[in-house]
Symmetry: D2
């Protein structure tokens, strides 16, 4: 990788995390969220507000593993909640197709050549209508796929049914146990007559499982495509330890994905999440945003635009200077904690908001987290006898001090945008297109282009993902003339920037 | 360098440029700007509006090279316009010191140790009050310096005099001929009993000169610090050709410098430059900005905030997508050229605005350039007999078509912000601090840390530059706790980000 | 009134509307919304998404009019859904009290004097927790009150129960029939031993009822306070016709209420309403906003801030020029209808979006209304056989053309912010405070200050409402010195502006 | 007037001011600005940075009153600096014509009818190219005019010459003495065979003169059009005292003029004025803006957009609440005076910034005034022996405290935008068009429409001014259908809003 694995910090929690992994057959007798969160990756157990089953009757208590189901063609190589929900799921997939023009364009271009012909992809992601469009695109490009869910709550049963009905071996349902989770993954990997040669992972659990159980399988695997912060960190760790035995593509840090997942998406979802949970007015409110990375930048810009007065805390002097130049007072949290109406964490750090801070907040202060883990607010410190918790609506708790002061805690400190707002299809389209292109690149790369290391998506592919999404905005790109391309020393088709370019 | 020299494009104009370099002793009989611009670097002949001599009487036509001058201590190792202007220059330097707290802080910290003790720095930069603060800081840090100007117009004679009076061997005056230019540089390099061991360059002319004339000198040189786009490109070219024989630090692409020189500075200077030249009202005006890099982003944000309707053109689909998400219509120039009130180029490319575009613009359309060269607008194409040029005020020409249509051309297509607005001291402070730290790093680096290649400023130093400027904003940085640093796998003092982080 | 009733336009729909009023005892056998909307005021039948009963079991089908209920003190002078829900309602009222500091401040100031002692107020408003805080404040200020609902859907039954439990004669429940609606109003007006002397109305139905049924009652009435656009228009109409027989206070047009109900509130609710219904991304979307009054200004500012490209249509050249200066392209709807992603109406006009426009919109275009009536989009024109309606979620319909094109229609063209988002308590606090002060002013005004006309809230009271809400923002007002007040010719306590001041 | 003269506050300084008026024949022996500012209206002596003579040679010391000049047609009924400068002035007028399309449109429409046929207008305004376009438009509309300058410094001699050359009796030059000032006015009013029937005034000096000297003249005068704050205040004062003997039109408070002179213009000129004087960077700066009227709103919006952190002070709770909702901390000046980098006054009040405040400001704090008089900053308090004044460039003083602290005072506390930036022609076009329409209205109004009172420009004319400026922005207004006009109760051609509408 160009940017140097050595430059990357291996955080402590990554290391601890890996040690705590357990195997699936130790079925826990009583599965609370608390116990689960130690044994499978955090992201695999985060709750999803928007991922409710559309047609959920919930009456059926039988485990899908105990059911005998066939699709209309008699195929039974899948395990979903209820194959009869396929029709509803198909309609959802069709609607999603309309909003994912980039993948549909890939399908069209693939009518001649099949860049993934021969590819055997095992995948582990959220199972949603958008993922289904990705999977069926991979199929149209020539690949065979087997798929499990990367999160025990996020599967849309109807979509899983629709995929199964179409002949995709899908193993996923909403509300899996931890044991189910690993069982489903195993069913995608370890099946007679199937030798996967590509991995598409989201969180690293699938990769982890193959490392643990079927390390020999890597001999035939051409590469791993990993989407999540967590999974990417694990890969860098493996690479640093010299244990990564195939090339891996870090699509999480591609430019388009980063900007959309963080800056552009959070700019909108911070407002959405706060409104849906609290109906508050933003104008005139004093807000402190902890962390001025892409997520913090998005939150600050949106709140400032709505008339809030925003303070920023930072540990990094460069980001701090950006906050200053963008018009935000840079403070330590203690300086403003008594006066602010809202506290938002966007750091990726732990214990950014401590019990001491919470004690000093004023009545009705809202506290929420937009960062990538649920450790930023020390919620555990609020689980003490003298404080009363009152659930006032879904995802909203009032924590009440003995003197009557109430703190409004959103989503129990978990990700606000994941829990209390929805992710626009457009953002998911960018991610899915990036994944598809990364698979194509790794699968078709000539011997030697990629070694046993972690790579960023090639600049040119990143640019290609972007270009596939421009028609949505009726945006017209300018082309270089031959003369201009020569003058700039560029190929007319890109890449247009050096790797260190910051956008 | 981490980001790979191989990833860098070598533009054609860089190559041509190098070929055209001539030597100084071929004194041209008649020096027009046109001829000059081929023989020395472009940046060395750009005009500077803000660089007028404060006390300029201009009566004295004697070349400084023909004068005998001594400072009050009897020293004559310098060549400036008029040593008697020293007092006025000293006052300017003192005012600048008040606004460059970072360098003053460095001086204070250097009272104990002298990180540049033994350093012999030869420098070639603009000679302004801010540079003077840098030079005197380098002196305070233990260095000996000899200095020339990197631009034949930009020297402030009073400041040069003040430096000479203080004992700095300075060779620079406003209005040097090309021959003078190289003579001054030579006087800094080639003097009895002086063997420079560090180079501080802005534009690459000094480095070029040593390569041509005194290549052996590089044996004792520990490194080059280069600030300009042009100079950095030359260094990458040398590196690619395997001819770079010492480590070089590209400070142009450090984060703080980039953001301030481009995004933050242009956000303000586009408004300033347009107002000072045209007194126009921004509200409701239709503007097309060509290029959505940092400069384009700054221009667009400012004009949008003032109520202009802004269109963007781009060749790079990623930047194009950013423009869309930031609320700008992405168009080809032809689509809007008939309707816009203002055309601004920020591409670094050539012939972005062609005669054909100019022919189609509406009456009173304003055309200007914020990019890094004067080729973006094809101004030469307007020098045809059927068009009348009318100079309506300094830096403002009306080009008049036979039918009476007027185009308002600013600064003849050269950089608007350089020609028609001023650069805030704060921005210069960031650049100067970056240069000082780069010199310290290269001078003190242990053997082997840097090879014969071009390096970006180490992240930690970039962060340090930022931290030295935070007090200006009364900004309070948060410190990591031990526990948090461990959790994140970071050193409490930084660096806080991986090298590929985009800010 | 200072601003001249004669300057006010009497719209046609106001006149028609009044003619269609019917009496309550003609009980319709089958009450559809369509029939209802002709017989009682439009606002009285608008649907409310946020007005669901908190504890709704809905099992009880008995009409409250047929029930015998008593509160804990044996009082039965009320008619609510279920007096047993009082405790829950009381808790809601207590929460609302915390966010309505202005009314609580009024209560505190009233501990000494009772400015409404002797006042007998009959009210007809939405029955919510916020209204309850208003009613109990009026009580604390010395008034006796009887209250009905101004909308057949909006009553929160629990709140009504809590008020009844506290001894307030409340006649209101969620889901009243038209007959119930007028019966409830009548029970507030016409009861043995009760002669109201003040009217607080929202929509004009109460005022209308007394005019029709008990015109003699006006002899003892000191004044009417009216909050809604519709009710205020009716009052101006009465005034113009010489039929207004008591002073009336138009609180709808007070500065604070206008800015909060329109500009500030819509700036937030347009984003909220669009997100909750469609989960769309705003960045890069092309939007046309019809109308650039306060509502349009708020919508445009919010969408521009989120990165949308916004076009504006206007009929008024002054507002049009404002749109230009604020950075929006001013177009006719036809010019952009084919390209936009969203159409938002904010005009108060009818048929702004016609079937012809709808026919020309592109696939997936979202259409919604933020104006004050449901006539802006010609929804009726979409009820034709060739178009298919598909309800995709609550408040969201897809209207599908024969060629498959879908238009996304929100809230069936009714008010988006009323139907699909919530109104912050802070806004309701401003309205309620304004109503309370208007009642105090009219009740205590010396003979002759107000004639039989429609008045705006006195400037000083408007300023007082604002000042009561400043502590929420920890805002510190500056006081004039004696010298400054003299210099400006102002009283130190205001009013600070001439009546024509535009803010 | 609809809004009630009685509602208007008569400030003390208006009253004092009128008392101090003196007559012109008391020629002062030595005219300093200090003495002048007591005897003629403040606005008549304000300095103008942009009003320098274009071709100023300044050699000619002869008073124009002592010269014998004729234009090329032999006419000598004028008094200007130098009739030979006419050609240059004509060119300036032609350029201005290109940017004043509204007046040119009026001329075109007047080719058939002459709405000002028979009008004899005496005018007293700034004499600039834009005023010349107004005067020549009035001529084209049928009027005869005589003109003097309303400010002793602001006349552009070349323009005055061009008008004289064209046959306009103009009496004005740059650098008039006070005596000259009144002499010029007198020469416009009191001349054989001339009986003016309309007054166009800017500041009220002309009106005052006629009141004092030729009160009988008002018998034939149909009305006064007054543009300035000062002049309008005088008129309201006359009206209140029952001494106004003709109708007067307050064009200062027309919507378009207010928004452009204040909100839109100041939004741009605050940035321009600060940059031109200080070259400061706005990003990250802490700024306090005193006053949140239209001017303050414009300043705050601009600075916030450039990344400054803005605090606001206010005395009016409504404006204060607006500041809160727009995202500004509302403070008392004392709370932030120690920390801010810039202090801007926009109040119209006196001694808003006192010596005590100035004593507490930090080093390098910039202080300037955007309000309508020079009393907002107590500059006089800085003229004490212990403080040193240092003029660092035009319009910029450093005031230095004994401990070395420097305050940067701009334009000596006079209007920053008048002194240090320029007014765009577009703004002047709006004002001039408003004046022309007001003259037409008053001149043609049927007997009885206007009484001896002060009137705002009729809404419809205000709308007409706006509509004449829309083509500049290629803005397309929507027209009401007959059905819509009927529905809204509006005439299709406006007026579109009730008089109290706030925009």
């Amino acid at each position: 990788m160009e940017t140097g694995a050595s430059a990357f910090h291996v955080p402590e929690w990554m290391i601890q995390f890996a040690d705590q992994k357990q195997e699936f057959n130790k079925r826990p007798t009583k599965i609370g969220r608390r116990s689960l969160s130690r044994s499978i990756s955090q992201s695999s157990t985060d709750s999803y507000s928007s991922a409710a089953s559309y047609t959920d009757s919930s009456d059926d208590e039988t485990s899908p593993r105990d059911k005998q189901q066939k699709n209309s063609k008699g195929n039974s190589d899948f395990c979903v909640k209820n194959i009869k929900q396929a029709e509803f799921g198909r309609r959802e997939i069709e609607i999603a197709e309309q909003e994912m023009p980039a993948l549909m364009a890939l399908r069209k271009r693939a009518q001649g050549e099949k860049p993934l012909a021969g590819a055997k992809i095992v995948g582990c992601t959220h199972i949603t209508a958008q993922t289904a469009v990705l999977m069926e695109t991979l199929g149209a490009l020539g690949a065979q796929c087997r798929w499990a869910a990367c999160n025990i709550y996020s599967t849309l049963n109807e979509v899983a049914a629709a995929l199964a009905e179409s002949g995709f071996p899908v193993f996923a349902w909403k509300g899996e146990s931890e044991d189910d989770f690993w069982w489903c993954i195993d069913r995608c990997v370890n099946v007679e007559g199937w030798q996967p040669n590509m991995i598409l992972d989201d969180g690293g659990d699938l990769t982890h499982w193959i490392y643990k159980k079927y390390p020999n399988m890597f001999k035939k695997i051409k590469g791993i495509v990993e989407e999540s912060v967590t999974g990417v960190h694990r890969l860098y760790q493996l690479s640093k330890a010299g244990k990564l035995c195939v090339p891996a593509m870090n699509v999480n840090d591609s430019v388009t994905k980063q900007k959309f997942d963080n800056l552009y998406c959070c700019r909108e979802s911070i407002l959405d999440g706060l409104k849906r949970t609290t109906d508050m007015m933003f104008g005139g409110k004093q807000v402190v945003v902890c962390g001025y990375g892409e997520v913090g930048k998005g939150c600050c810009a949106a709140l400032k635009a709505m008339g809030s007065i925003v303070y920023v805390t930072e540990i990094d002097p460069i980001c701090a200077l950006q906050a200053c130049m963008d018009g935000f007072r840079l403070v330590k949290l203690n300086e403003v904690i008594r006066q602010v109406d809202i506290v938002i964490t966007c750091t990726g750090n732990k214990n950014v908001v401590t019990r001491e801070h919470l004690d000093r907040m004023k009545n009705s202060c809202i506290v929420c987290n937009m960062g990538h883990s649920n450790t930023e607010i020390d919620v555990a410190s609020l689980r003490t006898p003298e404080l009363t918790w009152e659930r006032v609506r879904s995802q909203v708790d009032h924590v009440i001090w003995p003197d009557g002061k109430r703190i409004v805690l959103l989503a129990e400190g978990r990700l606000l945008n994941l829990s209390c707002s929805t992710v626009p299809t457009f953002v998911l389209s960018i991610t899915a297109t990036t994944q598809a292109l990364a698979l194509i690149e790794l699968y078709n790369a000539p011997e030697g282009r990629y070694k046993q290391d972690v790579y960023l998506l090639p600049k040119k592919m990143d640019e290609y993902v972007a270009s596939l999404h421009l028609p949505t905005f009726d945006a017209h790109l300018t082309e270089l003339t031959d003369e201009q391309a020569k003058y700039l020393g560029l190929n007319k088709n890109g890449p247009f920037k050096p790797n260190y370019y910051r956008y």
